[in-house]
Symmetry: C2
Subunit: 252 residues, 2 copies
Amino acid sequence: MSQQRHGSTPGEAGGVPAFPDLPEATIARLPEYLRALHHLAETGAETVSSEGLAAAAGVNSAKLRKDLSHLGSYGTRGVGYDVSLLVAQIEYILGLDENRAVCLVGVGNLGHALAGYAGFASRGFRVVALFDTDPKKVGEQINGLTVRHLDDLERIAAEESIAIGVIATPPGTAQTVADALVAAGVTSILNFAPGVLSVPSNVDVRKVDLAIELQILSFHEHRKASLTALPGGRAAAASPDKQPEDQEAVGS
Amino acid sequence: MSQQRHGSTPGEAGGVPAFPDLPEATIARLPEYLRALHHLAETGAETVSSEGLAAAAGVNSAKLRKDLSHLGSYGTRGVGYDVSLLVAQIEYILGLDENRAVCLVGVGNLGHALAGYAGFASRGFRVVALFDTDPKKVGEQINGLTVRHLDDLERIAAEESIAIGVIATPPGTAQTVADALVAAGVTSILNFAPGVLSVPSNVDVRKVDLAIELQILSFHEHRKASLTALPGGRAAAASPDKQPEDQEAVGS
DNA sequence: CGCGATTTGTGCACGCCTTCACAAGCGCCT
DNA sequence: AGGCGCTTGTGAAGGCGTGCACAAATCGCG
Ligand SMILES: NC(=O)c1ccc[n+]([C@@H]2O[C@H](COP(=O)([O-])OP(=O)(O)OC[C@H]3O[C@@H](n4cnc5c(N)ncnc54)[C@H](O)[C@@H]3O)[C@@H](O)[C@H]2O)c1
Ligand SMILES: NC(=O)c1ccc[n+]([C@@H]2O[C@H](COP(=O)([O-])OP(=O)(O)OC[C@H]3O[C@@H](n4cnc5c(N)ncnc54)[C@H](O)[C@@H]3O)[C@@H](O)[C@H]2O)c1
């Protein structure tokens, strides 16, 4: 059942008992819960019901309760969840209390925007290095960081204990960059370049492909159009919602 | 909402009357297949086996065959799939042959990068309008397009038959922008601002949240770290592989 | 001190998705 | 013409995730 016996809050690393074996689908939703909780905290709320939090996160309340129960959650029946406690719990599970160092490779159009993005810092990450291979880019100052040459990756990654790398280079060089990241000891990669990366099984890759998102939307447009052309005036019904998420990663 | 009526698909002989009812999971993978196919076509390949295409797209070959079978695919046993035919089929299904018009709202850091992204055009979309509310931004020329004020959205959306909108504004204004898009007749939204959007049930929303991706990676880092702290050198085993993918969308 | 209102945690059933395994179909070679 | 090897398409099984419905737990109040 519930092992609430775990009176210790996050912050301690030595004797982490058994790491909870969360379903991937749950993991993908935790960040959304966290964002909603932070928002609630700002409004002064001290507790939230599963119903309230679910609404704020755009999910079903039963699903939310099950998700939270998986991480041996602290909730009080008849009352709800303690906001700040839950925030701490989720941040601990996600490892955000480590304020992980992130590096960004490819300071072009997109990389520039990412380098200046405040959402990194506010959500538990530190961008500690920028890399590029273009001599015109190397040396440039962006948002307080100097663009380094990719050749320095290995050294700097070690110095700064970088575990996460973001790839924002053209598709053709993405695999090369990924190899370099892996060689430098990076074990998590977020890839913005279209295409499939091949990495060792202990490295996790997540991919963001704008065109894929648009194409999925396009499909639904196509579908909607072909339905409109049909008989029944199938219009908007009272469908609750649906705001899924997921992806998966490699592992070994 | 009135789009030209399209008769039938590019390579269809017998007639594909009803719109195929594809599983969401399949739809999410079709764009990846398409990208892989385009790549193969460039290398001169005329046919591909499910095994080959699956490898190029980073999925299981059985899954790929089932996916393609859902859209009544044309493959030849003992030979494989005809590349160009399959490209045409998937593009038709995804509605890419309509070269859909897309508008972008919020020409800031991220919006600027998106506005200049060549990947839109090359994958079946036309960015036809940019919007912002900042007087300093309105009127600016970006990549051949003039930034318009959001107030012009409704008129321009109608003129250009814009069905897809991209939101790249600060989180606080995302809902307002979404409402404006919906009012202008946009029925598909790609949202880069963190948070949950509320839209009518006939509007599809897909969300891209960088911080969520990083947090998921962070979780796996955390997990990997806690495993490393365990018993013997249980390093890499003979785990085949695993390629992710997925997300979902609203519908109705 | 007990009762009712409230909300969590979860057993269970259902449906979707993945994966295996194999028969059917196709081209080629002899 | 016939056989052989290759590849597709799919039936069936298993796993995962979702959502319902409800018992258990807790609080506030009389
Ligand atoms: N711009 C966008 O809005 C956008 C959106 C989605 C995806 N993408 C993808 O993101 C990637 C980057 O897009 P972009 O528009 O910024 O391209 P870009 O050409 O503007 O920038 C690419 C940068 O990567 C650098 N680079 C090239 N090879 C490198 C290497 N081996 N090591 C390190 N750096 C290297 C280049 O010098 C350049 O600065 C592309 O794969 C693109 O498809 C871009
Ligand atoms: N910059 C990034 O790399 C990045 C990455 C991921 C997500 N995001 C998200 O994307 C969004 C935009 O980020 P950004 O860095 O470009 O911010 P930004 O502040 O640079 O740009 C926001 C732009 O939106 C405009 N705007 C504000 N209110 C508007 C409205 N009501 N209608 C139209 N335009 C409006 C502003 O004038 C500004 O030009 C944010 O929600 C951010 O969280 C950004």
